[in-house]
Symmetry: C2
Subunit: 234 residues, 2 copies
């Protein structure tokens, strides 16, 4: 550390994770929240978070928080925003860098989830949250809405195989509004990114609906050719 | 400060500003760089930056850096990304939050620019920069390209009145490629966000070209009605 740097004020730096999951049965977009484990505001609903250690990057810190809570690694995660109002944390000045993560609900380790007292809460019925965490969620949700329009990241929230109805339900849950079925199907199928499987989903209708799966290698191939994903169904 | 927070490691937190300007004469997108004034790497080309003080927000810190360098306030500025690899700064661990700003070159206070030894460098011929500053620029440039497609922020880089040719030149400088003239004009005029003025620009052609100005209040009105700016001319 050079002499010049030594004289400078330092700050607490944290990460907070806005962890989205999607419940294919009740068709709700959900957020994984915890009860804060320390004062101030102990017991309040909070985003999972933690302080950045000296030897880890911001990304590693966010990955560590996520792994401790869910047991998951290799998860889709994006940095969202750095929040640094001097008074945002009543316990002292903390600069936090929010991230949003997209996970498949069924992949979570239930034992870890239980141990960390993490709860899935519907995005449309969130509880009051500690500090400015509602703002962190609001921004992440806005970013998610933009992202699923131009990148095939919605599939991160679905099981490996899904029906077109289930895919549309997901988009409707994220956009919080209905989407035209014909237009949606036309757009998604025209991109040639889905493979129709031989198997049918038969629990929700007698006739059944074919399962599809997303082909990430196709997307990468098309992307290299200058193709842009576009599922703007707003 | 609560007892729990007191035991946590702290970090140096900085802001760095990627300041874009546009030269309407030579049609180049430019970046305002300085020579670093302290060790390590004293004298190297650097983004203007500074450490976040205890009593200011991240946004205020970035605004302070920008004002000290240019004399400007009320400038379009967006947070870009938090960079926190433990080894990114050879002088010690510094987490920096990059911002990009769009300014009108002619508005800069020339005395302040001179005093701070700031230099405009063409984006296509940038010098080697200290630390990871090239990455900060790369990301901000990518964000600028996306932003000017979906928000009318390109006008922040132009004088109050401009010709359609000058507007197209700006987009070509940002995209770093040619744009179809007819398509570009059709798109921008169809949005009804520009007012044609009575005055003509006559320096670059004998016949002259009408000046236009951007109407921010129209944009706000349309936006409230659910209109989306779209100048996707890629």
């Amino acid at each position: 550390m050079t002499r010049f740097y030594e004289s400078i004020e330092r700050h607490l730096v944290a990460v907070d994770c806005v962890i989205f999951g999607y419940d294919i049965i009740d068709k709700n977009l959900k957020l994984l929240l915890i009860k804060r484990r320390f004062e101030p505001l102990k017991g309040g609903w909070s985003l999972p978070g933690g302080f950045v250690n000296d030897d880890e990057s911001i990304k590693e810190a966010a990955g560590r928080v996520l792994k401790q809570l869910t047991g998951l690694e290799q998860v889709y995660m994006e940095q969202s925003y750095a929040w640094g109002e001097p008074g945002r944390d009543i316990g002292g000045r903390v600069i936090t860098i929010s991230h949003f993560a997209l996970i498949k609900i069924q992949d979570i380790d239930p034992v870890m989830q239980e141990a960390s007292a993490a709860h899935w809460r519907n995005i449309t019925r969130l509880p009051d949250m500690v500090l400015d965490h509602s703002n962190l969620v609001g921004r992440a949700l806005k970013e998610l809405k933009e992202r699923v329009k131009v990148k095939p990241v919605g599939f991160e929230l679905l099981p490996e195989k899904f029906t077109l109805v289930q895919l549309q339900d997901l988009y409707e849950a994220i956009y919080m509004k209905n989407v035209d079925k014909r237009n949606f199907r036309k757009k998604i199928l025209s991109m040639n990114l889905l493979e129709k499987m031989d198997e049918k989903e038969k629990e929700t209708s007698k006739k059944g609906a074919y399962y599809y799966k997303f082909l990430p290698e196709k997307y990468e191939e098309f992307r290299r050719q200058g193709f842009y994903f576009n599922l703007d169904v707003n």
